[in-house]
């Protein structure tokens, strides 16, 4: 008897009926995907509001923000934000955005919903584990949110939680007590959730592919999610113990990250002989791959969406996939570039800078492949395709500034300035968010069975696209002027003249943020009022379009799909339409 027979991979569980099993503790990957997406929406809204508050404070440090005192009497007496509360908000903004938005939406959200469908499976390999991974992640989110309401407020040591500031306890400032402990716990829990998710993604991609769906025929998005899960499998495995050790330093009196003889606010610390750099190494060993965990799914998503609107396949699909894999591989060799001036051995700096620069090669190839694919096409301008083009643009902009920061010598000047803020917001945050938007406008018809409003979508795109450039482009100039990041206000002689620029950025940020409300409105409107979506509104080819919108509980209504073609047969000569579904038996020669 063969293994497959011993363990039938397709899970023939029948659709649950009760509300709880159907919508709350559901094992259906589609529901879980929507749950992840919902969590990301909630998180991104909170993170965005936090950024508004931060920007307001940076523009007008003494400006009272109505109602802020309600949120935190200690943090904003008289509605004016204190410096430490600014840092708390900044820390929470970073943590929420990186972990609960950039990791959750493009990877866990869309991945859960579409990976099984795109490989032609009825569900994930381990539905129960899948459910667990979401609820564990959700628990992590709640623990993190709790930090807002504990005495001392949220931690203020940034999303990187550098020890010893994060390790010595509340002597180091308000929020370094309970808040920081909750942070460590939350992130540790988050790691567990992501590990479970990664196991599931890997097993599903490799084992549950329907007949004919060879690895070569997998859509780019599936490839990206798969590669991302492999990265996550190894990266979160390092962050988990790091957070545990940090937790021990805080509650068990160990000194992993705390050296001898520290005097914090006139109190001699009991700790002995630890190393702050050890935390930085453990954190960034995870932290850099994490950046790619955020961006690779977005790359996969837009590479998946573009052909449907270009009406022709992307150039060099194999090359593109190798680029994604190559970037993932290199992501483990470069974490030191976050630590050039951190007191790390200067030889290591040279060692880390080379692979960092090398990463630009696969990234550039991918970008050129996208641009070259746009050439000679008759592009269909939908909101989804616009966000794909926007993605390419911001990805280029953010990638270019990487040239500067990858070099230790230049980093000597630019490290910890707004140049860095501009860089990672463009290349990681904005790019990944654009991928998420593109995915939303492209897939929402499939996910909730209703078409989104294109007019609102296009308005949303234009405001966002111009907005992000207004916000983050000036940060490059600030960086060149040596404007330090993570400052609650700018009091230094040379920073004061730069405040007007910050005020401009603040206004741009508020406007762009407001534009996102259009998106939220569009989502809600679509959910309840949107016109019914056909099964294949975009005339796309991959498996998710061969089923109903939204798909039935077992994805294909009991049918076992059979795949005959590559994922992107558009503009095919001699075909019935200008495209050929992966599932259509129609024999065609694929255009090169």
């Amino acid at each position: 008897m063969s293994e497959a027979a011993a363990h039938p991979p397709v899970h023939h569980h029948t659709a649950p009926t009760g509300f709880i099993r159907k919508y709350v503790f559901s094992v259906d990957h589609k529901v879980i995907g929507l749950q992840y997406y919902g969590l990301a929406l909630l998180a991104v809204f909170i993170g965005m509001v936090l950024s508004w508050l931060m920007r307001l404070h940076l523009g007008w440090a003494t400006l009272p923000i109505p109602g802020l005192e309600k949120l935190s009497p200690a943090g904003a007496p008289g509605n004016v934000m204190t410096p430490e509360y600014y840092l708390s908000l900044m820390t929470m903004h970073g943590t929420i955005m990186v972990f609960f938005v950039l990791t959750t939406a493009p990877f866990a959200g869309f991945g859960n919903y579409f990976l099984p469908i795109q490989v032609g499976a009825a569900d994930m390999a381990f539905p129960r584990m899948n459910m667990m991974s979401f609820w564990v992640t959700f628990a992590a989110f709640l623990v993190l949110m709790a930090a807002f309401f504990v005495p001392g407020g949220p931690p203020l040591s940034g999303w990187t939680a550098y020890a010893p500031l994060s390790a010595v306890g509340q002597e180091a400032g308000p929020g370094q007590g309970m808040g920081q402990t909750l942070w460590a716990v939350s992130i540790a829990i988050f790691c567990v959730g992501q590990l479970l998710g990664s196991l599931n993604f890997i097993a599903t991609t490799l084992d549950l592919r329907t007949k004919g769906m060879s690895l070569a025929r997998l859509p780019f998005s599936t490839w990206a999610w798969f590669i991302t899960s492999v990265i996550g499998l190894l990266a979160f495995a390092v962050l988990l113990p790091a957070c545990i050790l940090l937790f021990l330093d805080r509650v068990a009196g160990t000194s992993f990250f705390i050296p001898s003889g520290l005097v914090v606010s006139d109190r001699m610390m009991p700790h002995n002989g630890g190393s702050p750099l050890l935390w930085q190494h453990l954190f960034w060993f995870f932290g850099h791959p994490e950046v790619y965990i955020a961006i690779l799914p977005a790359i996969g998503i837009i590479s998946h969406i573009l052909p449907a609107f270009l009406r022709k396949p992307l150039l060099g699909p194999r090359v593109l996939i190798s680029c994604i894999a190559g970037i993932g591989f290199l992501s483990y060799m470069v974490w030191g570039h976050h630590m050039f001036v951190s007191g790390m051995n200067p030889f290591s700096a040279l060692l880390f800078s080379v692979p960092t620069l090398v990463i630009t090669i696969p990234a550039t190839i991918a970008t050129l492949l996208w641009i070259g694919s746009v050439y000679g096409s008759r592009l269909r301008f939908t909101t989804a395709s616009l966000f794909c083009l926007g993605f390419i643009s911001v990805f280029i902009t953010g990638g270019i500034s990487g040239f500067f920061l990858a070099q230790p010598s230049i980093d000597t000047y630019l490290h910890a300035t707004y140049f860095v803020v501009a860089h990672f917001h463009f290349v990681m945050a904005v790019a990944a968010i654009f991928g998420m938007f593109a995915g939303t406008y492209f897939w929402m018809p499939k996910m909730i069975g209703r078409m989104m409003n294109e007019t609102l979508g296009k308005i949303h795109f234009w405001l966002t696209f111009v907005g992000v450039y207004c916000i983050f482009m000036p940060m490059h100039y600030l960086g060149l002027a040596g404007n330090i990041r993570r400052y609650a206000a700018f009091t230094d002689d040379y920073l004061v003249p730069l405040i007007p620029t910050h005020q401009f950025i603040t206004i741009a940020a508020l406007a762009t943020g407001a534009a996102q409300l259009i998106f939220f409105y569009n989502l809600v409107w679509t959910r309840f009022r949107g016109p019914k979506a056909p099964d294949n509104p975009w005339e796309a080819t991959s498996l998710e379009w061969s089923t109903t919108s939204p798909p039935p509980f077992d994805n294909f209504g009991g049918r076992q799909m059979v795949v005959h073609h590559d994922a992107y047969l558009y503009g095919v000569e001699g075909a019935a339409a200008d495209y050929v579904m992966q599932t259509s038996p129609e024999a065609v020669k694929s255009p090169s």
């Binding site: 190393s275 030191g336 290591s348």
Partner: protein
């Protein structure tokens, strides 16, 4: 390769032999320890033996030998790569020793 093939392992006799072998390696480790070598040499010895022991365990006890080569070539390189990269922390570990702030 399917279950049928992996089902017919080498049988318990062989595994007992392997088990004895592993115990011997542990014995050697202890003996080496009490040769009172300098810490660095001892570490090298112990690591070599430990990796040998681990390799045998993965290969036979965990049946990796009886799986497809693809699995071996997926798991081992990934792990070796990660451990190799982690070794880039050593220069800083030694810095802690050489540049320690002279505080008591």
């Amino acid at each position: 390769m399917t279950a049928n093939e992996s089902a017919q392992g080498p049988g318990m006799k062989f595994f007992v032999a392997v088990w004895i072998g592993l115990m011997c390696i542990v014995g050697i480790e202890v003996i080496v320890t009490y040769r009172h070598l300098p810490a660095r040499d001892l570490l090298v010895w112990l690591l070599l033996l430990a990796f040998l022991e681990a390799a045998i365990a993965v290969w036979y006890f965990m049946h990796l030998k009886y799986e497809r080569a693809a699995l071996v070539w997926s798991l081992l390189p990934a792990f070796i790569f990660v451990v190799f990269m982690m070794d880039h922390v050593w220069p800083d570990a030694f810095r802690v020793a050489t540049m320690r702030l002279l505080a008591q």
